[in-house]
């Protein structure tokens, strides 16, 4: 009773509309305002614009040019879905994700666990894994071209075991190679996420498991993996999102999505259709489908990974 009375005396009737509008912490609103503005201008508005474009016969025009941009309903989506090149690009990115995401998660966790121990040269190794992540893709792609071209280092080492056609012009191997490349390049970032998560795992859990006679593998499987599950969810979702936005690697490593479209990604196609060929309406439809696909996959991942 006294509590109710206390609350009643503190809630001044005149303040209610302001509180209802701005909440109990108006300063907090001011603090988040810059980021909210950023989200609206850089994310929400372009996304909404893309959705709008995808339902219109749209092309980029000079200011003042009299152009007709009629509503075309699902026409752009029909064109996109009926285009074998687009279907191939989505198939390619699925192959990429199926290889890249598990590879990234497994390698990042394994290496993070190793780097979390007191091993010789730990700092050097942590930096070494991070270097490819912060190096410009163009430079790193140059190294991989040197390694995986027909007369590159890898084929020289493999000798008669080298694939024919070679890696980058092999329709079966080109996309898996890109998936491995991206996993390697981004590994440093995901290792960092796991390293941060590993700091939060109580040592008592390992001690307790050891007392119970658990082997190293059992401790890893029964303690480490469940304890870093939230980080795994984050790694998988981030790897899925960044992987689905693949552009630079097929653009540079395989010469624009080659061989014969085997490494073309949806974002590379968006660039070709939207920028090179002047069809942003078709590109926007591809983009919207990609967003829907990525959100769906991410939600499924989250459901599966967060399940106890």
């Amino acid at each position: 009773m006294s509590v109710r009375l206390t609350r009643g005396t503190h809630q001044h009737p005149g303040r209610r509309p302001v509180t209802a509008l701005l909440g109990r912490h108006p300063v907090g609103l001011a603090l988040i305002a810059p980021y909210a503005a950023f989200i609206v201008l850089v994310f929400a508005y372009p996304l909404g614009f893309a959705v709008w474009i995808s339902f219109h016969d749209y092309f980029f025009a000079a200011p003042g040019a009299q152009v007709d941009r009629p509503f075309v309903g699902l026409e752009n989506y029909r064109a996109v879905i009926g285009d074998p090149g687009v279907r191939q690009a989505f198939g390619n990115i699925l192959v990429f994700l199926l290889i890249n995401v598990p590879l990234t998660a497994v390698l990042a966790l394994t290496l993070a666990v190793a780097l979390n121990r007191s091993i010789r040269g730990r700092t050097f190794l942590r930096v070494a894994y991070y270097v490819p992540y912060v190096t410009a893709s163009v430079a790193v792609v140059g190294v991989w071209l040197f390694l995986f071209s027909s007369d590159g280092l890898v084929n020289r080492v493999l000798g008669p075991l080298a694939p024919d056609p070679s890696w980058l012009v092999n329709e079966t191997l080109a996309m898996p190679l890109i998936a491995v490349f991206v996993a390697w390049k981004q590994l440093g970032f995901f290792i960092l996420l796991y390293l941060a998560a590993l700091q939060t795992v109580p040592k008592e859990l390992y001690e307790s498991a050891a007392v119970d006679g658990a082997t190293a593998w059992q401790r890893f499987r029964s303690v480490t993996v469940p304890a870093v599950r939230p980080a795994t969810t984050l790694v998988v979702i981030l790897a899925t999102i960044t992987g689905a936005n693949l552009f630079t690697e097929p653009y540079l490593l395989t010469g624009g999505g080659g061989p014969n479209g085997a490494s073309t990604s949806p974002v590379l196609l968006m660039y070709q259709r939207g920028i090179e060929q002047g069809a942003p309406d078709v590109a926007a439809a591809i983009g919207v489908l990609l967003v829907v696909g990525v959100v769906t996959v991410s939600m499924i991942n989250r459901r599966l990974l967060e399940r106890p």
């Binding site: 909404g48 000079a62 003042g64 027909s150 012009v169 010469g255 479209g261 090179e276």
Partner: protein, 427 residues
């Protein structure tokens, strides 16, 4: 609340989107207005030197109409940057690096000024470039680009590699497809070079301009890829050219993997398809010779046509001082400035009487004479709607059937021709 905020953001953005409308620069700007203007030049070192000198010459005579020259801003391609500038309304008055293949798109964007609007313009262009100017007209019959300079492509060969392969290095047999293939096989089997010829096998839309298209033009006697709204690629000539290249790829005479460097300059390939820019690049390091592109039956050089690889100048609709822009355009394409361009870059001004007008230059530098002769027999990309999409469609079919041999040429080209017909017919 969790769902309300994103929904509200989406609605807000859609609202902003639907509310936005075009507005800004005056598309009907006065064609006689004069004053300072800005122009963009290619970032090629030699062209920049020419452009800077040209602007200095203009500015020294026109204090009230100063020209400011800038390099085209960096981007994945000049066309991408220009397209963005058109949309943003901040394109300069003139760009001396406008690709003919991009003109239909720029025109559709409302980004170009029809030069016919200026008094005497049509006569000036026709008189300067002659009948070759016809192919730069847009479907509405107007010039949205000033034919400026060409880089007619020919086959350049490395004499040392030819000699090593046991081929006559002064006059290698490269006139017919059979001769070209035979010579290529000798180069490869002798180990004289890793490849006979090494055009880029990547899938960018423009790559066909430097493998299939020059030979197609030569084989057809000067046809464009699309004529009268119909694709020509699936003709008997088109298929012969494709089968020729397919043989080169199938036998490993032309590699399927992109080379990250200059395959000809580094001696990896015995031959290359190049324009006159190659003379300055290779003269110090390679003993080279020139041949026209081959045809199935072997045509005399004087009858062989090729791809022009032209870059033109165009006036952009954001320009407010179009009177000055037009005068600068005429000044930059005058006989004097064309001569300066030729001297500085080795690229061929699109003029009718090139060798006679600059006889002294060609006497001093005879290496350029073959290209100058060839410049009189060049063919451009077709000026049709959806030009870039058409070239990408063709490139995809070419990659699939010719480079990687996944489908018969006739099937892939037949499907591509059908798509191209549809694209060329759109407005």
């Amino acid at each position: 609340m969790k769902r309300t905020v994103p929904a509200a953001l989406l609605v807000l953005s859609l609202g902003l989107t639907s509310a936005c409308s075009d507005g800004g620069s005056d598309a009907e700007a006065d064609s006689s207005a004069k004053g300072p203007i800005t122009i963009w030049l290619s970032n090629n070192k030699e062209e920049l030197a020419w452009g800077t000198a040209m602007v200095e010459a203009w500015n020294s005579q026109h204090a009230d109409q100063k020209v400011t020259a800038q390099e085209i801003p960096a981007g994945k391609s000049s066309e991408e940057v220009i397209g963005a500038a058109i949309t943003a309304g901040n394109a300069p008055c003139l760009i001396f690096n406008t690709a003919p293949a991009a003109v239909p798109q720029f025109q559709k964007q409302g980004g170009l000024v029809a030069l016919d609007d200026f008094e005497g313009a049509k006569g000036y262009i026709d008189q300067r470039t002659g009948s070759a100017a016809e192919q730069y007209k847009s479907p509405d019959g107007k010039y949205y680009q000033m034919p400026w300079k060409a880089n007619p492509v020919m086959i350049v060969y490395n004499k040392a590699i030819m000699q090593k392969a046991g081929v006559d290095s002064e006059n290698p047999p490269l006139g017919t497809y059979a001769e070209f293939l035979d010579t290529s096989r000798k180069i490869k089997s002798s180990g004289a070079a890793q490849a006979a010829i090494y055009p880029s096998p990547t899938s960018q839309f423009f790559q066909s301009w430097f493998d299939f298209y020059p030979l197609f033009i030569a084989e057809t006697g000067g046809k464009q890829l699309v004529e009268d709204g119909k694709a020509q690629l699936n003709s008997a000539e088109g298929q012969r050219v494709a089968e020729f290249w397919k043989t080169l790829y199938a036998e490993g005479l032309a590699p399927k993997e992109q080379y990250n460097g200059d395959s000809f300059g580094e001696g990896k390939a015995a031959m290359a398809i190049v324009g006159p820019w190659a003379i300055a690049v290779y003269s110090d390091t390679i003993k080279w010779g020139l041949k026209p592109v081959p045809t199935s039956a072997g045509k005399p050089a004087a009858e062989t046509k090729t791809f022009s690889d032209a870059k033109n100048a165009a006036m952009y609709s954001s320009c407010q001082r179009r009177g000055t822009a037009w005068e600068v355009l005429k000044f930059a394409t005058s006989q004097e400035q064309d001569g300066a361009l030729l001297k500085a870059t080795g690229q061929m001004p699109l003029r009718t009487d090139l060798t006679a007008t600059y006889a002294d230059f060609f006497t001093q530098k005879p290496a350029y004479r073959d290209f100058a002769d060839q410049a009189g027999r060049t063919v451009e990309v077709p000026n049709v709607p959806n030009s870039i999409t058409i070239w990408q469609t063709f490139r995809d079919a070419y990659s699939e059937s010719v480079i990687f041999g996944k489908r018969p040429v006739a099937d892939a080209f037949g499907d591509a021709a059908q798509k191209v017909d549809g694209l060329a017919g759109q407005r």
